[in-house]
Symmetry: none
Subunit: 225 residues, 4 copies
DNA sequence: TATGAATGAGTATTCATTCAT
DNA sequence: CATGAATGAATACTCATTCAT
């Protein structure tokens, strides 16, 4: 017999691909059950209804995504590097599971979500970003006047749009190719312009008598390799 | 008698509010017709079907929005000012017609749009932004290495998310309140960092002995706080 | 202005072709009016409804058919000849106006007719056949024990089926080609078997000594080949 | 529990009577389901649509009819007898199930059938008639020059019309009453006129010296009992 | 006479969900 | 645990017909 967990996974997988393929409204519960290889009735033992199934599917993937994100960020030093990794991971995740991306941004009538849950995995991702930025501010790499909430909208909104258009255009290239440019654009907007001070002739002269500054990757952000 | 145009408008308005209120799928054609004060059958004389009606509704508002945007931008000088106006107008438009915003970002299964039409009003808005930025680059206000397409995703994606969350949270405050901060965040990321020179104490002192600079956009501009 | 009669005819013609083409149920009143080049409303001045229009269309053609049949039968002598002419004319009429045939036997849900009107043109045709047969009986050409009502069913039913199959098969050949054979089959069944006497060897010998009989209708009649 | 077959039968029966009663177009799917005592949805598990149901209903009855016809013909000797039985059975079948007759000839827009299927039960009946006639030709009871296809049209067309008028007139008498007369009419038209030789005075005289001939049923066909 | 505007009533078909076994 | 049987409620779209002008 198939264990409960295995069956649950089969259902979720089936639902994900079905939802992404046809669109949430066009998929019948029967079709999902058939894809999962079980009877309709049995599926109701696992999920109380279609909507709950949808929520579960997305939550499942989203959790996987958030967990992966946290893991990938471990050990990375420097705001710009963290941000770049973050961007890359998110785009990579969508790229490797376009069904999920499609479900999130295309097939899914967002209304189903209603107000996004405060403590869910999506909020968790927002928190991760906030942490990165705040740490950057403490480290003097990010300007202290950056409004984190606004940045969040900009960042996630931009990623979402990037992914959506990539899908809409038929996934023509590697989505991750956009990661560096995107990150640089964002980081340029928030980084501490200390380098700017260097452009002051007076200070430059002052610096010149001291020696070069360290941490090039901090100074120039994402464009550094 | 009701002129054809008036009736069309009544239908479109009714459809817009109905779609936004209940969600596209939950609204029956009958309900829209009833809201518009006409019979179902008659409505089919104006629009061949529900989907076409939805498309018409959005296209209608989107065109209105784009036209308004172009008009409001007339006579404005300076990239930052233009950008700020652009942001403000878009947020203002959504704020003054939350039904439309809802339809665009919440109620509307994006799938209907499929690949966004190349020449439609949405593309027009992207073009407007590109023009602003390019002019800024020519004027030396915007860094020449800015990738406009990426900026576009960031900008519109951010605005979309901003609006979406504002709706999802129940329209708690004035959406336009976020305009300045949002614009600043974006502009900071793309502006030519000449102003940095002003931060050099030596130059600042130099300036102070001369008098105020003639930079009207600086007075109201986002970069000044 | 178009005279009332002309307009009526235009409507009837339009209805006939439309009914035959799409089937009575698939044709909208609007479509008929458009075909006739008048407004729907105006059409209702001429016919109180779709059903009445259908009845009128068929009655019109049927009358034309019956009139033509009577005319064509004039001056013809001999039961077999009359019968042959009758068959030929009916098949010819259907052949030259397949729309009508289609309407009668295929497109038209017969239920509309309900009980066929006693005195209508259809009944008139039955009467014509009865006259032919009765005259034949008086003339000794047709057996006196023939039940005319049964013959009528056989004759018209056969013609109807002949025409129906011709239509269903896509009007492959000339429908009138079947006229002679059909008539012969019927006439053989009802004729007074006087010719049988000729098969008596004694009488044949008797005849042979006399010369040919003067029976023109026998020469061209169906029973002779 | 209701077996699948039983439910199917209930549906078909309900559909038959409903179609016949109101006419195919006037009957709603719901009404049929209600008559059958099941839900509309369930009915769609048995038949994919209204049209398929109609086809099934007719095919069902037609098969029953054809099977019965073959069975009833077994063991009958003599073309006239077979023909009489055939006529009687067909009329009897319609008489005992006027709903079916009504559906076939009245309520049913023939268009649904389109071109009658080559191998279906209707074609089978035509084949049965052809066999009877051909055997009659081999046995010398039927004239060899009879065109079987034409005869078929005459025969079935006549029966159809007979039944149609019987229905249209409100089923006033026994339909089978017409069977003998109808058969005789047809058979008279196709039988081998050997008896004609007996009408030759010479042969009659010859016969008279011998005694009466046997096999009266061959001589006089259907009127013999 | 002539018509465009306007409509009410009608229907096949689907699907999430429940229940008896 | 597992399922086939069964359903009620829901909806886009059509069309014959009327009426105000």
């Amino acid at each position: 017999m198939k264990s409960k967990e295995a069956t649950t996974k089969r259902i979720v997988d089936a639902a994900l691909s079905a939802f992404a393929e046809k669109g949430v409204h066009q998929v019948t519960v029967r079709a999902i059950a058939k894809r999962a290889g079980i009877s309709t009735t049995r599926m109701y033992r696992f999920f109380p209804g279609k909507e709950e199934l949808l929520v579960a599917v997305v939550a499942d993937k989203l959790t996987e995504m958030t967990d992966g994100l946290r893991e990938h960020l471990q050990g990375i030093v420097g705001t710009a590097n963290k941000l770049r990794k973050c961007t890359w991971f998110i785009l990579h995740f969508f790229e490797s599971c376009p069904e999920f991306a499609s479900l999130m941004f295309v097939a899914n009538p967002l209304q189903i979500w209603g107000r996004p849950p405060r403590g869910g995995p999506a909020a968790e991702q927002a928190r991760i970003l906030a942490e990165i930025v705040q740490e950057g501010q403490l480290a003097g790499e990010v300007r202290p006047d950056i409004n984190i909430k606004q940045l969040r909208d900009l960042y996630f909104g931009g990623l979402q749009r990037l992914t959506y258009l990539w899908l809409a255009r038929g996934m023509p290239n590697k989505l991750t190719d956009a990661a560096d440019g995107f990150t640089k654009l964002v980081f340029d907007g928030i980084k501490q312009p200390e380098g700017a001070v260097l452009k002051c002739p007076f200070l430059e002269w002052l610096e010149a008598t001291k020696g070069p500054t360290a941490q090039p990757e901090v100074d120039h952000g994402v464009e550094v390799r």
